[in-house]
Symmetry: C2
């Protein structure tokens, strides 16, 4: 029966030394030569069976891809370049090498697109469900990290793509907006940014709280995804899906600059104050309560 | 019902800005100013309910402490100083804030002992069992990282403490040998090192394979822990426990230097060749097969 060590040996055949990680894997920790002058950005996200994916429906490649892409999307949100990742897999006993290899390749292929190397990890079998955790290391690489706290009143609020209904498939197939984030940061003043993982109602509230501003969202201007129109069969409007569904992984940001609509849609404006206010198509205004995804404990 | 966000807000009250992480938490990624000239060492380990702990027996503080101490022990193995950690918790639905706070405090207190800051994380509830993942960032801080691959033939093999029977409690209460590792590296030529997580039979085989040497282990010289004598009631000898039990978290290393027995016990010698050979008390020799802990997949 193949064990953890066989899997590690196989992973080593997938890796090659690089400028960042000159030594091959095989130690307790990976050794990286961090580029001087670059800030190091670090974060971690997990995907869990029954919450972020369904192992009875989704393939291990899809699961692996989603696990790292959530983290790569965090890099986009900060305007940094991903550099390296470490991965843990907790797998149900009897999962088998072939499944784990597929999972790993899903992670690796998605990382490769952004030159993000998998430099270490830990695999264990257990009497539990599949859980995959990816820790990402990003580097500032010439761009000051963009936080959630830099927005000022009377800035425009933008979003980089249509929203809603990601459950139909985009929550698995989205592409992290890293290149777009870097282009935005190079060409415009981006004062605060976040990636839309929990729904705009919740994620915009994060920016408002951290930046100490309020925000108007104009329903008419909100780009609504075709998937949000499809999912309206559940009785909620397409707008409701666009506002509250999570896992769009588009960028939501503020800027004092006028940004061409071909790049991002202006969906509102910050104001001096607090809270998020939705202006409906009929011109009426009301507080936008966060209905997006939050784990209860 | 308290949610993920309440927990994050509470965690933020536990953190304070530092030289390494000058900005408070609150973004997708933590921003670190990595010390120039320091190599960055990174690794990840998970502890899983039913494998590394038993949530029906062990307290959340004990579980949190073990989760990070396994990683801190990896820092010891490489001779580096821990600097920062990020944490994920996958918790069964309904776990509650109090339990998660205890878990977090277990992690934080153990990290604080070594000035290792918790700079980020991700908490999610799920229909699964408790899993805690800690990613550790270490810095070389004046000592060239010690790998598993530097041993040469005819070097002494040392261990920093008595082995076996950790299941009686030491697997939860061990102290990572970081200070000792740094002292050893400063005062002696340490050519290869590993922390004893999987049992000496397995971990010494790792050093042999990576260094392309063989190793003799002298049964007479092996420091056997009182716990190994206790656990021999299961029918296995105390020596067997000392050789094969995992989770001692003592350091196993090779050196061409004579190291005082008050610091570490000499338990064998490397040779030109391969494999691990045990010399029994009666002088007979036989291959030492790895019986220590390995996850089957």
């Amino acid at each position: 029966m193949p064990g953890e060590f066989d899997f590690i040996q196989w992973i080593r055949t997938q890796q090659k030394p690089s400028e960042l990680a000159p030594l091959p894997a095989g130690d307790d920790l990976a050794i990286l030569k961090w580029p001087e002058k670059d800030l190091l950005l670090v974060g971690v996200d997990q995907v869990l069976d029954g919450v972020h994916f369904d192992s009875t429906v989704h393939s291990p490649r899809q699961i692996g891809r989603k696990a790292i892409n959530r983290n790569l999307s965090d890099c986009a949100a900060m305007g940094c370049l991903p550099a390296a990742a470490v991965v843990t897999i907790a797998s149900p006993a009897g999962t088998g090498m072939d499944y784990l290899k597929e999972l790993y390749l899903g992670i690796k292929e998605a990382g490769d697109k952004f030159n993000c190397e998998i430099v270490g990890g830990d695999t264990a079998s257990w009497p539990g469900k599949l859980a995959v955790t990816v820790t990402i290391l990003g580097r500032s690489a010439g761009i000051k990290p963009i936080t959630r706290s830099g927005a000022s009143p009377l800035e425009a609020i933008y979003v980089t793509g249509p929203l809603g209904g990601s459950i139909l498939g985009r929550h698995l197939t989205f592409e992290p907006r890293i290149d777009l984030a870097r282009q935005l940061a190079k060409n415009f003043r981006i004062t605060a940014m976040i990636d839309l993982s929990d729904g705009i109602s919740r994620d915009l509230a994060h920016i408002c709280r951290e930046s100490d501003v309020g925000a108007h969202v104009w329903a008419k201007q909100l780009p609504v995804h075709q998937d949000a129109i499809e999912t309206r069969r559940d009785g909620r409007s397409a707008l409701d899906h666009a506002l509250h569904d999570g896992e769009d992984y588009e960028l939501l940001f503020t800027s004092p600059d006028k940004i061409p609509p071909t790049i991002a849609a202006a969906i509102g404006m910050t104001f001096r104050g607090s809270g998020v206010i939705l202006r409906a198509s009929d011109g009426s205004e009301s507080p936008l309560a966060p209905h997006g995804w939050e784990h209860t404990l």
